[in-house]
């Protein structure tokens, strides 16, 4: 298992290097930079040109890339042109918020998906199954941002059961119990909104996987051994059916990134997603690049975690 993990880890390095080059090139390919547009039109163009020269914006791309990546490795993503503060500090404030939101969403996702998937798969073609499958179709059909708005309107605005913005009640002191509770309280509604929508693919996946595994030959073997129905599920069907769910985990992380971008914006939750959308609109090149790179690394890490989980549960993909 350690061999597989190490090998898988080494594969990640060229992936990340390639990703960083792509991200950089794409950001450069976007029209305009932080000095175009918003500046006072009466400013002398030669002044702007001099400023560009000073910031290194006229260097060939590989020089700019090298400057950027060597600093990035040391944790310096440059200055945000708009917020007038280091990108690292800017992201650092928000990254923990997003990580917590993602984590709680993931927990909700699996808390919903696993029992529903099991019921639906085990008792397929019953009323319970039809109800659950009906829900998954609704989940597939409903766009996340509309559903989030609906949740915000119903639970936040109408019932006033949850806060509608921010990540914590203002005025609380970090480190106190009250502060932590307030944080969790602010996460619940956006996380639940996201989980209810993103979980449906996992429910469907688990359902069809269980129905599939039920018909495999080794289940007959288990029956012929005299194993009871519940033992067949716990010892034979579930473990085999959860494999693709584990493999799906990396993809889940990618979906989560897309989800947080919308949900944070809708719930005015100060995370990376909200910053991302704002920075794109303000053409804050250094922030966007740093965020895309981080998102990219997060999905690469997600698939790494998938593969490690798989190598733990599936003996067939371990390297001997």
């Amino acid at each position: 298992m350690w061999k597989t993990t190490l090998r898988r880890f080494l594969i990640m390095i060229p992936q990340i290097i390639l990703l960083s080059i792509l991200v950089f090139m794409m950001a450069k390919a976007l029209p305009g930079d932080a000095l175009s547009g918003l500046l006072d039109p009466s400013v002398d163009p030669s002044m702007i040109e001099a400023q560009r020269e000073k910031l290194g914006l006229n260097n060939p791309w590989y020089v700019q890339y090298w400057d950027w990546i060597t600093k990035a490795i040391q944790g310096d993503f440059g200055q945000s042109f708009r917020f007038k503060m280091p990108v690292t500090d800017l992201i650092g404030q928000r990254i923990t918020n997003t990580i917590w939101l993602s984590l709680v969403t993931l927990i909700f996702t699996y808390l919903i998906a696993i029992p529903l998937g099991i019921i639906s798969g085990r008792y397929n073609d019953t009323w319970g199954d039809r109800l659950i499958t009906g829900y998954t179709y609704l989940g597939f059909a409903a766009p996340l941002f509309i559903f989030s708005l609906l949740m915000l309107w119903v639970f936040g605005f109408h019932l006033q059961a949850f806060p509608t913005e921010g990540s914590v009640t203002p005025g609380l002191v970090p480190g106190t119990l009250e502060y932590s509770f307030s944080k969790i309280y602010h996460i619940l509604l956006p996380a639940l909104s996201m989980a209810l929508i993103t979980t449906v693919s996992t429910v469907q996946y688990l359902r069809s996987e269980i129905i599939d595994t039920k018909q495999r030959d080794f289940i007959l073997t288990a029956r012929a051994k005299g194993a009871s129905e519940s033992r067949i599920y716990t010892h034979h069907i579930l473990r085999n059916s959860l494999l693709p769910i584990a493999a799906f985990f990396g993809y889940e992380i990618t979906g989560l990134i897309g989800g947080t971008v919308f949900v944070e914006y809708i719930f005015s939750y100060p995370g990376m997603g909200q910053l991302f959308l704002n920075s794109i609109m303000l053409r804050d090149f250094s922030v966007v690049t740093a965020l895309v790179l981080l998102y990219g690394i997060a999905s690469i890490l997600g698939s790494l975690i998938s593969d490690i989980i798989l190598s733990i549960v599936d003996p067939r993909i371990r390297i001997k």
Partner: protein, 342 residues
């Protein structure tokens, strides 16, 4: 020694297809005695496996009529819990495809131990004389038993194989593991459903030798399902020939080999390549076994595949006729049967 282990009476197993029931096993009667190998022969689709699955209670959607008496208890009406006490214990089964019959995520050792664990109380009484000082339910004891079973079925390095996963073993080795699981609790009745079909010829022989040796050791009754008449001649004491869900001929192996009666049995036998007459064309039975929905439910079911035999030769409602003591044939058409080129 001639004690009857299994008696099947008027067994029909039907499957619902588009709201209607179709019998894959149709009114089958047979018995299996202790220390005997009964072979069930027939083409694909003749209902052999459906019969075996009915005995083991492995069908999930089928409707079963008739009686399956194992030592006087009717398996067909047993509750799942009662059935689970017998399955893997007194009655066990070897499956056709060893490649898919093992759980890919469990170690070989765990899979064999599972069947020991599930029937622990039985092994306690059966083995009470042995292993003094051992805690019977201990993991260590089960592991010893498992290693013992692995070496019994001819696995060269039991300790090593114990910790391997199915994908690390060859087909022959996996079938040995499946057999080890089937014999773990020393069953009285063993059903082998085409145990050698998925294996190559050299391994086939070893597996058959193994099954025969185990029969002699355990004095179990064995139902051997196969479509290979060579295997039948090697192994069986008695043979039942199945066609389209019915038994068309049943007899001792000697009587069948020297004096096969039913047109289907004779066609099967002449379809075996002998190897010493290179010039002659191999006999082919015309057509295929009709599918479940298209089975003729009246008259002789083999009729459509021997169209040159006149209609009058068949019985309207084909019955079993005793042609020799213990040798039964269905339908009267056997009296008038000849091959097309005769």
């Amino acid at each position: 020694m001639n004690e009857e282990l299994l008696t099947i009476e008027n067994l029909s197993t039907s499957f619902p297809i588009a709201g209607q029931l179709y019998a894959a096993v149709d009114d089958v009667n047979l018995t299996v005695k202790k220390n005997e190998i009964l072979a069930i022969v027939g083409e694909s689709g003749s209902g052999k496996s459906a019969l075996a699955f009915s005995i083991m209670g492995l069908h999930t959607r089928a409707q079963i009529q008739g009686h399956i008496y194992y030592k006087g208890q009717n398996l067909a009406t047993m509750s799942p819990a009662e059935l689970n006490r017998l399955r893997g214990n007194e009655v066990s089964m070897i499956f056709q495809d060893p490649l898919s019959a093992l759980n890919p995520l469990m170690m070989i050792g765990e899979q064999i131990e599972e069947v020991l664990l599930l029937h622990e109380s039985k092994s306690k009484t059966a083995r009470s004389s042995k292993g003094s000082g051992q805690t019977r339910h201990s993991k260590k004891f089960r592991k010893e038993q498992t290693l013992d079973l692995l070496s019994q079925v001819g696995i060269p390095r039991p300790e090593y194989t114990y910790g391997q996963y199915p994908h690390e073993l060859s087909g022959g080795m996996r079938q040995r593991v499946v057999i080890a699981m089937a014999i773990a609790n020393q069953p009285h009745l063993l059903i082998a459903d085409e145990p050698t079909t998925a294996l190559d010829v050299t391994i086939q022989l070893q597996i058959l030798e193994l099954i025969r040796r185990l029969k002699e050791q355990m004095e179990a009754g064995i139902i051997l399902i196969t479509h290979d008449l060579g295997v039948v001649a090697e192994m069986a004491d008695r043979v039942a020939v199945m066609y389209a869900g019915q038994i068309v001929e049943i007899s001792s192996i000697h009587s069948l080999m020297s004096n096969a009666k039913h047109p289907y049995t004779r066609s099967l036998m002449s379809s075996i390549p002998t190897g010493n007459e290179k010039k002659t064309k191999l006999h082919v039975i015309q057509g295929v076994v009709p599918s479940l929905q298209h089975l003729p439910r009246q008259g002789c079911r083999f009729r459509s595949r021997i169209p040159w035999i006149e209609e009058a030769a068949h019985e309207a409602d084909p019955q079993m006729h005793e042609v020799e003591p213990g040798h039964y044939v269905r339908c009267t058409c056997y009296k008038h049967f000849h091959f097309l080129d005769e």
